[in-house]
Subunit: 199 residues, 2 copies
Amino acid sequence: MTETPGRRRLKPSARRRQILDVATREIAASGFRGASLAEIAESVGVSQPGLLHHYPSKAALLLAVLEQKSAEDTKLVDEVFADAEGTVGQAMTALVEMNQRDPERLRLYTVTAAESIDAGHPAHDFYLQRYRTIRARLAGRLTKDCDRGRLPESLDVDEVAAEILALLDGLQFQWLLDPSVDMTRPVKAYFARLYGKAK
Amino acid sequence: MTETPGRRRLKPSARRRQILDVATREIAASGFRGASLAEIAESVGVSQPGLLHHYPSKAALLLAVLEQKSAEDTKLVDEVFADAEGTVGQAMTALVEMNQRDPERLRLYTVTAAESIDAGHPAHDFYLQRYRTIRARLAGRLTKDCDRGRLPESLDVDEVAAEILALLDGLQFQWLLDPSVDMTRPVKAYFARLYGKAK
């Protein structure tokens, strides 16, 4: 792509938003390893040195993409947990329904999280921390549900937190691979069993 | 690596086994996209044209690796299902315990499955079919457990099959990323709840 008219008129903050949008799309499609800085620069309509002026490396760009999505997620999760009377089951069901409307975000996480098992991957520490934080947050909310008598007091909340996170990740993967898979029904059925019929 | 003495003496079948072993390790570590034919050839001790003589492309090599692992898996699953009296819960718990001894296989699947969401990935159809087959097989065995009164007759076996597969995938990912996560305890607790205390 050649330079587009007016591209120099974008403010640096607008340019960075544009780069992040394009990078999110490319990395969600091809992973960190498959994404190409040259193609991202071309889609944005800047040179590679122009791109590197904003983000000094592909790793820095990946982390910026993940940090941005993560901040959006925190808002989303705050929203689904905002109803203090709601259970973890209700919050997670709402979250899956929202996620279903944003496959690109799910795909970005699924692909880069799997790559990041490699300790040398730039997002390894990001995901290690992210999963610990999510499990701890879920366990805290499950404890509340136990305290309120919505779940049995004997429940091991740390185990169930890992289980819920695994279930959501796994169903989201199945749905991304094969959109004929319905991911909301199994989630609802799972929580109906966990909370008992009275959910 | 330079040519090692005696490398020409390997039979083609032995050479192919050696290539598959090295490719499995490399693809498990870096994914299909991150793995390099040049590095695989170097680790095997053959030239790149020598490697391409056995597997004509990186895609062909990936599929050969996945077909081989898949054949091993079928044996493993036949083994855990061999006890006709055993429930799906018992079989899956045994499977997770076996998987825990073979992180390389889990990692190969986790990384290449996530990449394969992309419809242009060489393993896309492999995984689409693999997940459909596993869900159908699980659903069939769950139906048996319902028929024998081990699970409620009202259980939606297709939903629960997707759920079990998701749970195992998700916990395996958490464990691969962070070996401090215990994946067998949540699996046991999940099935204890699903089958009732009498499991």
